[in-house]
Amino acid sequence: MPGDHRRIRGPEESQPPQLYAADEEDAPAARDPTRLRPVYARAGLLSQAKGSAYLEAGGTKVLCAVSGPRQAEGGERGGGPAGAGGEAPAALRGRLLCDFRRAPFAGRRRRAPQGGGEERELALALQEALEPAVRLGRYPRAQLEVSALLLEDGGSALAAALTAAALALADAGVEMYDLVVGCGLSLAPGPASTWLLDPTRLEEERAAAGLTVALMPVLNQVAGLLGSGEGGLTESWAEAVRLGLEGCQRLYPVLQQCLVRAARRKGAAP
């Protein structure tokens, strides 16, 4: 949104002072490449949303809410052959609308939320990763809205958003084939570097390449994959995908416990 120039007299564009500072930050400390940061996950915390989840991993904090199913806009007519299991025909399947927002104070520089660009791309990545898991055929002509809000970016934000969105969908009671667990990876610059699992913000900023993997743990199917950068040859990327899938499997029991606790809380409440 353009600033209010009649009342607030200031420059059109502003920059943070850190840009002009000498680069004093030390390189991130060497660490075990397969370590996962401790995760705090809680489902069922927003009263106004059908389902919600909050996930914190290191410095990354994501809040996700699910609403629906409600009537889809722009209804489609007609149908095709019905799918297996009494699901709606392809033209009447439900829709999943995902929205990814970054709070303006989430990163080091203040960023006003923009329409297109990175947020649109990450919302599309969320949608493509969650669609294989949700039984949209059971919600004909309906749409489910998933909105993820990144409160603080401490590294692997998309992975945390994916996990939180899957937890929120499960908390909302949406029919799913399996949970979706996300994991981030990054490759440090330099000739002989290995892929690091669950990078911190510092590691991600200095990385030559980054990758986010989304896995459905029980079915062992990769639901989403998004990576870019100078990752080297295909063997290097394949190794990264393997590491990411292993990380997702390790994270799964934590999420199961979180959902069980949320169900107990709901059951106990008067």
Partner: protein, 291 residues
């Protein structure tokens, strides 16, 4: 994306064919359709290219303009991508319909060029912190018959190969004011090296196998695809899963190997065609839009 309605029987027919490595038009699983590439088709641009991959028709124009470098990278120029899905391609793209697809393709292009080795951005710098070349790459989708990403990446590479940026000098007076001087000779220009510009290879999973360069009908049978952006040396710069289905981890590894193989062949033939076209010189026959 433009889609075509297929009956279940047609889908089964295509799937069974793919299992036997035989596609509807007789190709194997790793064969591309016939590609036609022509550069320098639009005269007002610094570089342009037109690619026809089967019935998929893409026109790319590159315009080089002078701008301010970004604050974080004061010694480099940059590229800006814009994709326009014209209503000629399918009626679905009329009005704002094609915007979503256009943003998705533009974001993918930003991602594949988002590394130091694809394009040498330091050659685009005129004077640090003040002036640099900004290359506006505009992609126009004229006709859509499946496999958009591959065709667009081939067209972008050809257009960047064809781009001629005029040589510019910054002169400084005694008072310190700077003046930009354009060289008098219209043929004195900088060319970009496209050795490391990647091309996208989209692999669609159909049944248990995957195919390269899917037509619209084959895309309708496939639930998930893997988009791999690979350079001529086999370096992968972007990896993305597209579609509403999921992929088996083993298929992902197989698909990456296929993309490396297919990518090498694609790059080799594209380079040879571009050099051959260039060597024909100014007297070559331009086919343009009527051929």
């Amino acid at each position: 994306m433009a889609s075509v309605a297929l009956s279940e029987a047609e889908k089964v027919y295509i799937m069974h064919g793919v299992q036997e490595d035989l596609r509807v038009d007789g190709r194997g699983c790793e064969d591309y359709r016939c590609v036609e590439v022509e550069t320098d088709v639009v005269s007002n641009t610094s570089g342009s290219a037109r690619v026809k991959l089967g019935h998929t028709d893409i026109l790319v124009g590159v315009k080089a303009e002078m701008g301010m470098p970004k604050l974080e990278k004061p010694n480099e120029g940059y590229l800006e991508f814009f994709v326009d899905c014209s209503a000629n391609a399918t009626p679905e793209f009329e009005g704002r319909g094609g915007d979503d697809l256009g943003t998705e393709i533009a974001n993918t292009l930003y991602r594949i060029f988002n590394n130091k080795s694809s394009v040498d951005l330091k050659t685009l710098c005129i004077s640090a912190r003040e002036h640099c070349w900004v290359l506006y790459v505009d992609v126009l989708l004229l006709e859509c018959d499946g496999n958009l990403f591959d065709a667009i990446s081939i067209a972008v590479k050809a257009a960047l190969f064809n781009t001629r940026i005029p040589r510019v000098r910054v002169l400084e007076d005694e008072e310190g004011s700077k003046d930009i001087e354009l060289s008098d000779d219209p043929y004195d220009c900088i060319r970009l090296s496209v050795e490391n510009v990647p091309c996208i290879v989209t692999l669609c999973k159909i049944g248990y196998r995957h195919v390269v360069d899917a037509t619209l009908q084959e895309e309708a049978c496939s639930l998930a695809s893997l988009l791999v952006s690979v350079t001529s040396k086999g370096v992968v710069t972007c990896l993305r899963k597209v579609g509403k289905g999921s992929l088996d981890p083993e298929s992902i590894f197989e698909m990456m190997e296929t993309s490396k193989r297919v990518g090498k062949v694609l790059h080799a033939s594209l380079q040879s065609i571009l050099h051959k076209e260039e060597s024909l010189g100014p007297r070559r026959q331009k086919v343009g839009f009527l051929g």
